[in-house]
């Protein structure tokens, strides 16, 4: 093949692939895409916005390269007839432009980043007329424990939050470095033993979103997932009540099983629970006082605060709850925002008191 033929061939191929890139991106950002391209809360929404703003700004300096390189290649090809200036190596104006324009772009980006970074600081609470719901998150190998300190309950495998109300998370890890992340809602944040990080999120509407660990921590890493369910306020109350009623207390033996290596499902199985449903949700009706901070501090947990005898494993009181009656009707397990119906049991307000009766040994 002659040199010019090769150039032509190359350009034709090249332009085709250059076109492929935006196509790939656009087709990827369809409405069925999980993650922050389909944001379900204000944080992720803002992040998607920033993403496109940065792309738009950088495109100003990148597009010229992508468009002009093939043009130059064609125009100054070896067999072409364009001028040839082998000694031309300097142009003051071009130099000024090529420094000034990127500098300008970076200046704009700089101001923008400074503002947005402060605004989206995960430690910063989200403005709202409702008080935030506090949740404490503990990472284990390879599952998450969600403690609701005000409600005195905890869950694993599923994080239930009220929609349209800020969530204030405090996070730590009982093992190694992990990274807590709900893509559709917003920021990920590292969690680490002995350290607390904070994160503020909010879901706009009821829905189901994937949650993950992003920081590799061993063989079960890819199983360290959970479902986030944003529900209406009354459904949230119902969830609390039902957990208190149906859950098992998080006692010493249970805790030993949790602290063992294993993903959510394996833990549920070790607890003698039925794991036939997809999410293997585990619910705890009671947690020891200050559990989160004792785990974080590495000090021994005060089990006497938990006023119950450890229940026998595998007793009738199964705690694996069907994910949600409504979820099964919504055909797919996709993470798109299917509105949640309120839970049927919400009316009942059962107290966990009958469990307390099985008092101390």
């Amino acid at each position: 093949m002659s040199v010019s033929g090769r150039i032509e061939h190359f350009l034709r191929q090249g332009s085709r692939y250059v076109l492929l890139i935006p196509m790939l991106l656009l087709s990827g950002c369809g409405s069925d895409m999980p993650g922050f391209m389909n944001p379900q809360g204000p944080i992720a929404q803002a992040q998607r916005h920033h993403f496109w703003v940065v792309i738009a700004l950088v495109m100003v300096v990148v597009i010229p390269v992508i468009i002009q390189t093939p043009l130059i290649l064609w125009r100054y090809r070896y067999r072409g007839h364009a001028v040839y200036r082998p000694k031309w190596d300097m142009s003051r104006w071009l130099d000024i432009i090529m420094w000034a324009v990127p500098l300008l772009i970076v200046a704009i980006l700089g101001v923008y980043i400074w503002r947005q970074t402060h605004e989206l600081d995960p430690y910063r609470s989200i403005a709202s007329d409702k008080p935030p719901l506090e949740i404490q998150v503990v990472g284990y190998d390879w599952k998450w424990l969600f403690i609701y300190p005000d409600q005195g309950i905890a869950t694993m495998g599923q994080l239930v939050i009220p929609a349209d109300r800020p969530i204030a998370l405090e996070l730590t890890s009982a093992t190694v470095l992990q990274s807590f992340f709900i893509p559709a809602l917003g920021s990920q944040i590292d969690v680490m033993n002995r350290m607390v990080t904070k994160l503020h999120l909010e879901a706009d509407h009821p829905g189901r979103f994937e949650g993950k660990n992003m920081q590799y921590n061993g063989e079960g890493f890819h199983h360290q997932r959970f479902i986030t369910r944003a529900v209406e306020d009354n459904a949230f109350d119902a969830f609390v009540a039902r957990t208190r009623r149906q859950g098992r207390p998080l006692d010493q033996d249970t805790y030993a099983i949790i602290a063992d290596k294993g993903d959510n499902r394996e833990t549920a199985r070790a607890l003698g629970l039925d794991t036939s449903d997809t999410d293997a949700v585990i619910r705890f009706s009671q947690v020891p006082e200050g559990l989160f901070h004792t785990i974080m501090g590495g000090s021994p947990i005060d089990w006497s605060a938990l006023n119950v005898a450890p229940p026998q494993l595998g007793t009738t009181r199964t705690s694996v709850v069907q994910t949600s009656e409504s979820d099964q009707s919504s055909s797919s397990e996709s993470t798109s925002a299917a509105p949640e119906s309120s839970e049927p049991e919400s009316a009942e307000s059962s107290s966990p008191s009958h469990e307390r009766k099985e008092a101390q040994p």
Binding site: L25, G35, Q68, I72, Y78, A82, P183, E219, F221
Partner: protein, 701 residues
């Protein structure tokens, strides 16, 4: 195990063999993975055996020993570095293909165990960075830089051997870990506390620590060697502002090596203390603090990625200028931009851990500092475009890589800027978006740079061109394969897929994963094409001969000498009067003149230091991994003795007589004169024997 065997073998036992787990666990998954691991180990053992048998059969041991292993010649050391890099590249690409294959079928499970996958991404990342990229660029700089500055060798040839020995030892350690498994699963970043003894008590992390440490030491010494050479050994008249751009980037890379490697030495050293002597630097209990490891690692890690990218920048500068038949646009600005990048690269490392929990103002400050690097980088990109502008562009193989680089690199740069936006990084950190970003820099940037350099300087090193047809095929496979394999990862990352996942549960991922898998196959084809290219080139070496030394109408000094160059590079040290020294001479009709005077040349004598230090450091590292303390002590004593003993040696040089230099040189000049000068349109034909036609009439301005 009895006491004596454990004294001798430490904690090395039968279970280190890759097929051991297969014998105890008969599950389908275990068998498949056992077969794969055993196959890999077999390849290592058979490969080593085959090499030994081949050398014996050819009767080349003596030649190998005296001409290569003990040679202090920077050119031979450079080539040996590159050979290591190519072997390791092949292994790491195969590993990458396995990972891609696994993820292509990875909905719910797949065929690799999580443990095996963990070893794959760890070895792939570690090898690619420390045992492919670093030796490759070290090799190229080793070969080319002294020629470009008109020197006979590096400042410290024996130290150069030692660097090679250390790198080879590290690479050998990684190879041994295939046979006496396992390797670490902690990723190339090796974050504690996951890599602490409490979590990972096996030999894997220790393999990783010592392999990386050997490579780090090697690179630090190499950096010192390069920097001093460039400062002190330039030919007369070669001022700093007349140095070729590749040498400039080599200098900046060397400086980054000198100052960027110590943080890694500290990080891995402290981790080793934690693991071996029960320190508590990065543990979760007793006041340890792993965040400092992350901090130290990236204080190395970020300068490292610029160590990797600056030499390719220099290479592409030479390639763009040469194949556009034109001066580089904005030489001075390119130099300044390179220096800006080198210094700025020490100010941005926090962008690798935006999500750790620090305050917004720190994140913002480091995010903005990161973006600043985009400015000089952008200037370089524009300068390359303007170098082609008003040129006469020949699309040779090095140039195809360069074009692929410039178009793809800006996209990777753009995604880098996206990652440098802290609020967005909170979304895409640790996702496949990040994996796509850095491969987008490393493959079109680093790897294309290295392949471009190989195609560009191969005729210089061997005396014959690399065959072009297979070269184009390889380049196209690389470009297309890269795009197919990595663009889908951007989308997957935006969908929230974490890096280092052996499997996933989202059906939406599958089509993208399959495309990426196909891309990996294309890359495998590219690797095959490279091998065929090499083989075909060696087969046709006589017809593709370019002994006259200047096949591409080169601009810098390395093209002024024979191909391959004599041991002493230049019969007479050239005098430099301008940038693009050789081009100026050719234009002025002053090239290839017979020197009036030849002198005796003093060259460094052969030395066994490199081999000795390489072997002892390998033995020491191996002993440390398996707790064979006698081996560690013995190797340590021998190392010390060798270093002290070397100080007593006085016959470190040998003289090449002026007569010998004259005969060799004048014979070459004679042949050169009888060679027909070649027009640029025929530079890929068999007529090209390395003598370039004078500049095109009338086009000069």
């Amino acid at each position: 195990m009895s006491d004596t065997t454990s004294l001798i073998f430490g904690r090395l036992g039968w279970d280190a063999l890759p097929f051991w787990s297969m014998l105890t666990d008969h599950s389908w998954l275990s068998i498949i993975n056992g077969v794969i691991a055993t196959g890999a180990a077999g390849m290592v053992v058979l490969g080593a055996l085959a090499a030994v048998i081949l050398v014996t059969w050819l009767g080349k041991w003596r030649y190998l020993w005296s001409e290569w292993l003990t040679s202090p010649d920077h050119k031979k050391i450079g080539i040996m570095f590159i050979v290591i890099a190519l072997v390791m590249l092949a292994r790491a690409i195969v590993e990458a293909v396995f990972m891609r294959a696994q993820q292509a079928v990875g909905l719910d499970s797949g065929f690799l165990t999580a443990e095996h996958f963990g070893q794959l991404f760890t070895t792939h990342g570690t090898i690619m960075v420390f045992f492919m990229a670093m030796p490759f660029l070290t090799g190229i700089i080793n070969y080319v830089m002294p020629l470009q500055i008109g020197a006979r060798d590096l400042s410290f040839p024996v130290l150069n051997q030692v660097s090679l020995g250390l790198t080879a030892a590290g690479a050998a350690l990684v190879m041994i870990s295939l046979v006496l498994a396992p390797f670490s699963i902690g990723g190339w970043t090796g974050y504690p506390p996951f890599t602490e003894l409490a979590r990972n008590p096996g030999a894997g992390v220790d393999y990783w620590i010592w392999a990386v440490t050997l490579s780090t030491l090697s690179s630090t010494l190499t950096g010192v060697n390069f920097a001093v050479t460039i400062f002190k050994k330039r030919a007369p008249g070669m001022t700093l502002m007349r140095m070729p751009l590749f040498t400039w980037t080599a200098l900046c890379t060397a400086i980054l090596m000198i100052f960027g490697m110590p943080p890694l030495t500290v990080a891995t050293g402290l981790l080793a203390l934690d693991r071996y002597l029960d320190f508590h630097m990065f543990t979760t209990d007793l006041g340890g603090n792993m965040m400092n490891y992350v901090n130290l690692f990236w204080a190395f890690g970020h300068p490292e990625v610029y160590i990797l990218i600056l030499p390719p920048f220099g290479i592409f500068s030479e390639v763009f200028a040469t194949f556009s038949g034109k001066r580089i646009y904005g030489y001075k600005i390119l130099v300044i931009a390179t220096m800006c990048i080198a210094v700025l690269s020490f100010t941005v490392w926090l962008h690798h851990f935006f999500t750790m929990g620090q305050s917004a103002h720190i994140n913002a400050a480091f995010g903005i500092a990161t973006m600043l690097i985009g400015i000089p980088t952008g200037v370089k990109v524009y300068d390359w475009m303007l170098t082609m502008y008003r040129g006469r562009i020949r699309l040779s193989v090095p140039m195809v890589y360069a074009i692929g680089f410039i178009m793809l690199f800006v996209l990777g740069g753009m995604t880098g800027i996206i990652l440098a936006t802290p609020s967005v990084d909170y979304q895409v950190h640790n996702s496949l978006f990040l994996v796509a970003h850095f491969h987008n820099m490393l493959i079109p940037g680093l790897l294309f740079g290295m392949l471009s350099a190989t195609n560009f300087w191969f005729p210089k090193a061997t005396g014959f061109r690399l065959e072009e047809r297979w070269g184009y095929r390889a380049a196209f496979c690389w470009i297309i394969g890269f795009m197919l394999a990595f663009f889908p990862l951007y989308v997957l990352g935006m969908m929230g897929m974490p890096r280092r996942s052996v499997a996933y549960f989202e059906p939406q991922y599958v089509p993208w994963m399959i495309v990426a898998g196909i891309g990996a196959l294309a890359i495998l084809c590219a690797l095959l094409c490279l091998l065929i290219q090499l083989w075909v080139s060696i087969r046709d070496r006589h017809t593709n001969n370019v002994f006259a030394g200047d096949p591409w109408d080169g601009r810098t000094l390395e093209w002024s000498t024979a191909s391959p160059p004599p041991e002493y590079n230049f019969p007479v040290i050239p005098e430099v009067h301008s940038l693009d020294a050789f081009m100026t001479e050719k234009e002025g009709g002053r090239a290839w003149r017979v020197p009036d005077h030849y002198g005796d040349i003093e060259m460094p004598a052969n030395s066994v230091m490199g081999v000795v230090i390489g072997l002892t450091s390998l033995a020491m590292a191996f002993g440390l991994v398996w707790y064979m303390w006698w081996l560690v002590i013995a190797a340590g004593v021998i190392t010390l003795a060798a270093i002290v003993g070397r100080g007593f040696v006085r016959h470190t040089h040998r003289i090449i007589s002026a007569d010998e230099v004259r005969t060799t040189h004048e014979r070459w000049l004679e042949r050169l004169r009888q060679t027909a000068p070649i027009d640029r349109s025929r530079e890929q034909s068999t007529d090209n024997h390395g003598r370039a036609m004078p500049p095109v009439e009338g086009a000069v301005q």
